[in-house]
Symmetry: C2
Subunit: 152 residues, 2 copies
């Protein structure tokens, strides 16, 4: 019960603080939006990972394109976590809304890391690119560990 | 039968021509990817449309942000239309693969229009922004009319 109350307070506080987008949307649309963005993230992230692991030839142009996309996508999902989207067809953990500031900071770390990756992908050498890819991947994993439920 | 044969030839030609991404993916992942990108397009497009129609106050910063996102997203979906994704949970019409060049050109028109929209959104006046939004919306509608099945 304490948890439920905390949760309600957290969501209410977000509304008051204007953290949530002014956009009035159906909860299922917001869930599908953020999941859609994350699918696009995964689609672009996967081949970069394969190149870093040596599973496919390193193609700097392709890598830089995907890194640029990743940077653009990384600033999008947060606004999809509006109140009312805590349940439904989602793997989002309640911790997102219970500790919104931590979640936001976690997403912002991913944004910063992928923006840096996009820069390094253009100007850096392969070693630097791979190192920054590792840093970016860490931010993904950390956020998934803390805020995403395991698959059933 | 003629149609089926044409379809098979079109898909085979795409493979030979290297139109299709080198990325080896499951068909359902490619479908979910392109649909995910289109959801993100819709999410960002909707509020711009509401501003243009006067249904919500015009916010130039917000509009410019969404237009920039639209431009970034618009170059992503095409590679999701790989062979093997003609059926399944998709509203894509067979015409996409039967006339790939036309489809590609149609998607590229959307890309160019939204890139211009992102530019105008930063430097232009409200009238110019709204006009370019209209041009962009036309490219969406045209492509949907030709290449997307109606909802069941």
């Amino acid at each position: 019960m304490k948890c439920v109350t905390q949760f309600a307070i957290a969501v209410a506080a977000m509304c008051v603080a204007g953290v949530v987008s002014a956009q009035q949307v159906k909860p299922e649309d917001a869930i599908q939006y953020r999941q859609g963005v994350m699918r696009a993230v995964g689609w672009n992230f996967g081949p970069m990972g394969a190149m870093v692991k040596g599973e496919r030839p390193f193609d700097r142009t392709f890598f830089a394109r995907n890194a640029k996309r990743l940077a653009a996508l990384s600033e999008m999902p947060l606004e999809g976590f509006v109140p009312g989207t805590e349940s439904g067809d989602t793997r989002a953990k309640p911790e997102i809304w219970l500790d919104w500031d931590k979640y936001k900071a976690s997403m912002e770390r991913m944004g910063k890391a992928s923006t840096k990756l996009a820069e390094v992908a253009v100007s850096g050498d392969e070693k630097a690119i791979k190192a920054q890819f590792g840093e970016t991947a860490k931010t993904c994993k950390s956020c998934h560990d803390d805020f995403r439920k395991s698959k059933k």
